[in-house]
C-alpha cells in the first residue's frame, strides 16, 4: 500500500486558466459545488420572496401573479436541476467517487470538463430569465397547454433542460465506465463504498430516463414554435402525453437525488460510528437496486387526479406503496449501522442524525400520497409541498451539507467545524420544522400550492386559527433558515482559508479517499504508487485495527 503524498503543485499557468481548462475530476467537482451553491443561493432568495408574499392575504411584494409565478418557476427548477442534482451527482460524485475506488481520474476527463461547462451554460441561461421581459412562468413541470399558450418564453425552459440533460448523460456514461473499468486492482463489487453504489444507481437512472424528458420538452418546443400539435387536443394531440412522459423521467429523478444523499449518510455514519454497514448486501442489492428496479413503474402517482383510467391509478397505488420495501430495507441498514457503534459527534454527524428524522418524516408522509383516494384531496395542496420539501429538498440538502462538513478537511486541509457551524446547524434544523410543519396542517384542510393568495379560505379555521396565522409562522421559519444558511456560507468560506488545520485522516476513516491521499489530493490523486487492495479490505472494516 502506498502512503499519502504531499500536495504537488499544478502547472505554472495562471490560476484562472488552470481552473478554466482543468480536466482534473477534483477541480471539476469544486466547479460543480460552486455552481450549485450559487443556484441554491438565488433559488433560496426566490423562496424567501414567495414565502413572504404568502405571509399575509393580499399582494405585498409582487406586482402581478405572473411575477410571482416567475419566481416560483425559478425556485423549483433551479433547486432541483441546478442545486441538488449537480450538487450530488456533480460535486460529490466527481470529487470523491474516483478517490473511493482508487482511480487516478475518471475514464474521459475532457468529456467530464465539457459536462461541467454545459452545466454552467444552463445556469446562465436560467438566470437570463430574470433579464428578458418574457421570462418563463410555467413552473418547473412546464405542463401544456399552458406552457404552449402562455406569453412567456418556454424555449428558455426547454433549452435549459436540454443542456442539463446532455451534461448529465455525458456524466453518467463517464462514471459508469469509470466504476466498471478503473477500480483499484483487487477491489470486488462487494467492497465498494455505499456512496459509490448509490451514485452508480443514480447514473443508471439518468441514462435510461433523461432521453424521455428531453423528448417531452422537445415536443413542447415544436408545439409552441413550429406549429405541431402533439399536445393539442383540438388537432388530435393529447395533453396527458406530456405529463406521462415528464413524470416517467421526473419520478425516477427524485431517486437521482435521494440515492446519493443516502450514500453520503451511510459513509458518514459508518465512519463516525466506526462500524460496519449493517447488512451491506441487502442494502445494495435489495435496497438500492430494488429502488432502481421499481423507479420506472410508479410515475402515475403524479397523475392521480389527472383523469387517468381507474385501473391504472389502482395499479400504480400498489407499485407506489411497494417502494416502501426497498426503501425500508435501506433504512434498516442505515439504522443498523449505528448498532453497537462507537459514535463521535461533529457537525457532519449532527447533520447526518437530523437526516434520520427527515427521512422518517418525509418518507412516511408520502404514504397517504401513494393512495389515490387520499390524493384526490391532498394532491396540489401544501401538504404535498411539505412532504416533498422534507423528503427531497431538506433531507437531500442536509445530507449534502453533512457531506461538505465531512469532506471539508479532505478538500481544504482544514476543519469547518466550530461554533458557527453548530449555531447554523441548529438554526437550519429548527427553521425547517417551523417552516414546513404548518403547511402539513393547512394542506390537509385544502390550502393549495402555487397560490400567492388564499382569499377564499379567509373564514376557514384549523385548530381554531386561520390559514394566515400558519403562513405567518411558516414565514418566520423561512427567515430563520435564511439566517442559518447565510452563517453557514460565511463559515464555509472563512474555514476554507482560516479553519483549524486538519490531519490527512481526521476521522480515522478506512475509506480510500482518507487513507491513501493527501489533503487536498494532488494531481493523479495517489502519488507515485497505484492503490491495490486485497480481498479482506473494506471501507467499513474497523474491528481489525
Amino acid at each position: 500500500m502506498s502512503t499519502p503524498t504531499t500536495t504537488a503543485s499544478h502547472s505554472a499557468a495562471p490560476a484562472w486558466k488552470e481552473w478554466l481548462l482543468t480536466t482534473d475530476h477534483k477541480r471539476i467537482g469544486v466547479l460543480y459545488l460552486v455552481g450549485s451553491m450559487a443556484a441554491f443561493g438565488v433559488a433560496g432568495l426566490m423562496a424567501l420572496i414567495i414565502r413572504f408574499e404568502q405571509m399575509e392575504l393580499g399582494m405585498q411584494f409582487i406586482s402581478s401573479g405572473t411575477e410571482y409565478n416567475g419566481y416560483l418557476y425559478f425556485h423549483g427548477a433551479a433547486m432541483i436541476l441546478a442545486f441538488l442534482i449537480p450538487g450530488l451527482t456533480g460535486f460529490a460524485a466527481n470529487y470523491f467517487l474516483p478517490l473511493m475506488i482508487g482511480a487516478r481520474d475518471v475514464a474521459f476527463p475532457r468529456i467530464n470538463a465539457f459536462s461541467v461547462w454545459l452545466f454552467y451554460f444552463a445556469i446562465v441561461l436560467a438566470l437570463l430569465s430574470f433579464i428578458v421581459p418574457d421570462g418563463p412562468d410555467i413552473m418547473w413541470t412546464g405542463y401544456p397547454p399552458y406552457s404552449v399558450t402562455s406569453a412567456s418564453n418556454t424555449s428558455m425552459y426547454v433549452f435549459t433542460v436540454h443542456l442539463l440533460g446532455f451534461s448529465s448523460i455525458l456524466g453518467a456514461v463517464n462514471f459508469l465506465v469509470t466504476v466498471i473499468y478503473m477500480r483499484a486492482p483487487g477491489m470486488g463489487w462487494n467492497q465498494l463504498n455505499i456512496f459509490v453504489w448509490t451514485t452508480v444507481a443514480a447514473f443508471v437512472i439518468q441514462l435510461i430516463f433523461i432521453p424521455v424528458l428531453a423528448a417531452a420538452v422537445t415536443l413542447l418546443l415544436f408545439d409552441k414554435y413550429l406549429g405541431t400539435h402533439f399536445y393539442d387536443p383540438s388537432a388530435g394531440g393529447d395533453v396527458l402525453l406530456y405529463q406521462n412522459l415528464f413524470w416517467f423521467y421526473s419520478h425516477p429523478a427524485v431517486y437521482v437525488i435521494f440515492l446519493p444523499a443516502v450514500g453520503i449518510l451511510f459513509d458518514i455514519m459508518a465512519t463516525m460510528a466506526k462500524n460496519r454497514v449493517f447488512n451491506y448486501k441487502a442494502a445494495v442489492y435489495a435496497g438500492i437496486w430494488g429502488i432502481v428496479g421499481i423507479a420506472g413503474i410508479v410515475w402515475v402517482h403524479h397523475l392521480y387526479i389527472a383523469g387517468m383510467p381507474d385501473w391504472i391509478r389502482l395499479g400504480h397505488m400498489v407499485t407506489t406503496l411497494l417502494i416502501s420495501v426497498p426503501v425500508g430495507i435501506l433504512t434498516l441498514s442505515l439504522w443498523g449501522t449505528l448498532y453497537k457503534g462507537a459514535i463521535t459527534y461533529n457537525t457532519a454527524m449532527m447533520y447526518a442524525a437530523s437526516c434520520l428524522y427527515l427521512i422518517l418524516l418525509g418518507g412516511l408522509t408520502g404514504i397517504p400520497l401513494a393512495i389515490p383516494s387520499m390524493t384526490l384531496h391532498l394532491s396540489e395542496t401544501s401538504y404535498v409541498h411539505a412532504h416533498f420539501h422534507f423528503i427531497m429538498a431538506l433531507f437531500s440538502a442536509f445530507a449534502l451539507f453533512a457531506g461538505i462538513y465531512y469532506w471539508f478537511p479532505k478538500m481544504t486541509g482544514r476543519f469547518a467545524d466550530g461554533p458557527m457551524a453548530t449555531i447554523s446547524f441548529w438554526l437550519n434544523f429548527v427553521g425547517v420544522n417551523v417552516t414546513f410543519w404548518p403547511l402539513f396542517i393547512i394542506g390537509k384542510e385544502g390550502m393549495p400550492r402555487r397560490y400567492w393568495d388564499y382569499e377564499m379560505f379567509k373564514d376557514v379555521e384549523v385548530l381554531g386559527r386561520s390559514f394566515q396565522e400558519f403562513h405567518f409562522i411558516a414565514t418566520i421559519g423561512a427567515g430563520v433558515i435564511a439566517i442559518g444558511m447565510l452563517l453557514q456560507f460565511i463559515n464555509f468560506i472563512a474555514s476554507a482559508f482560516n479553519g483549524k488545520p486538519a490531519p490527512t485522516n481526521p476521522w480515522n476513516s478506512k475509506s480510500l479517499e482518507w487513507t491513501h491521499t493527501a489533503s487536498p489530493p494532488g494531481p493523479g490523486n495517489f502519488g507515485d504508487t497505484d492503490v491495490i487492495v486485497d480481498e479482506n479490505w473494506s471501507p467499513y472494516e474497523y474491528t481489525k485495527g
Binding site: 413541470t141 383516494s373 387520499m374 377564499m456 379560505f457 480515522n508
Partner: protein, 236 residues
C-alpha cells in the same frame, strides 16, 4: 389480507349484483376519506415512533467513550442477512397491502356515481368556472358568487376545459380532479348536511390568476336550491 380479498371480490361482486345495494345506503366519500386518513395516520405514526425511538436510543447509547474506540457489531451470517432482508420486506409488504385494500375500498366510494345523482356540467376557463345545471341553466360564478347544491342530493360534476388544464377541487368534500381540454372527467359529492363555507378552487397551475380561480359552494335545503335555480334561469 381479508380486507384486501374482500375489496377485490367486492369490486367484482357489486358490478354483478346491481346497484340496489347502495341505493339503500349511499357512501359519503368525504367521511370515508376522513376515516381512511385516521387509519393511515395511525399506521405511519406507529412506524415512525418505533423507528424514531430506536434511532434516538442508539444515538445516545452507542456514543464513543474514547477516541480510538471502534464499533463491536458482528458481521451477519448468511442466514441472518437473508432473514434481516426478508422479514422486514414481508412486514412492509403486508402493511402495503393492508393500506392498499383500505384505499381501494374508499376509491370505490369516490368513483361509483350513484344512479340518482344530479348532473352538473363544469367548464373551466382562465380564470373561472362555468356551470350548466339541469334544464340547461348556465351559471357563472366568481370569488363572491356562490353556486348551490341541494342537501341530501348526490351531485356529479362532469367536467372539461376550454383552454388550459385546471382542476376542480372542493376541500370541504375532500375531492378534486383535473379539468382538461379534449378530455372529460368527473367527481361526485354527497352533501348530507347544509353548509355555507364550502369552497371550489382551481388546483392545477393555470397562469396569472390561478390563485383567484375560485367560488363558494353552498349546500342548501331543496326549496332554497329550487328558488336559486329559478332565479339563475331567469337571469340567464
Amino acid at each position: 389480507m381479508m380486507k384486501f380479498l374482500s375489496a377485490m371480490t367486492g369490486l367484482v361482486g357489486t358490478t354483478l349484483v346491481s346497484s340496489q345495494a347502495f341505493a339503500k345506503e349511499l357512501p359519503v366519500p368525504n367521511e370515508s376519506w376522513e376515516r381512511l386518513w385516521d387509519t393511515v395516520m395511525l399506521d405511519i405514526t406507529v412506524i415512525g415512533v418505533i423507528m424514531a425511538i430506536a434511532a434516538v436510543w442508539m444515538l445516545f447509547k452507542f456514543r464513543a467513550t474514547s477516541p480510538d474506540q471502534v464499533g463491536t457489531a458482528k458481521k451477519l451470517t448468511t442466514v441472518q442477512s437473508i432473514a434481516f432482508a426478508l422479514i422486514p420486506a414481508s412486514i412492509f409488504m403486508a402493511d402495503d397491502f393492508y393500506l392498499a385494500a383500505n384505499g381501494w375500498t374508499v376509491w370505490n366510494d369516490y368513483r361509483r356515481v350513484p344512479d340518482n345523482a344530479m348532473e352538473v356540467k363544469v367548464i373551466g376557463y382562465q380564470w373561472y368556472f362555468e356551470y350548466e345545471y339541469p334544464g340547461g341553466v348556465l351559471v357563472e360564478a366568481d370569488m363572491e358568487t356562490p353556486v348551490m347544491i341541494p342537501v341530501g342530493q348526490p351531485v356529479v360534476f362532469r367536467m372539461t376545459s376550454e383552454d388550459v388544464i385546471h382542476s376542480f377541487g372542493i376541500p370541504k368534500y375532500r375531492v378534486k380532479e383535473d379539468i382538461m381540454p379534449g378530455r372529460k372527467t368527473y367527481i361526485w359529492v354527497n352533501p348530507v348536511e347544509a353548509q355555507t363555507d364550502g369552497v371550489v378552487q382551481c388546483a392545477e397551475f393555470c397562469g396569472e390568476a390561478h390563485s383567484q380561480m375560485s367560488n363558494p359552494i353552498h349546500a342548501v335545503p331543496q326549496a332554497e336550491y329550487n328558488a336559486w335555480l329559478a332565479k339563475m334561469a331567469a337571469e340567464g
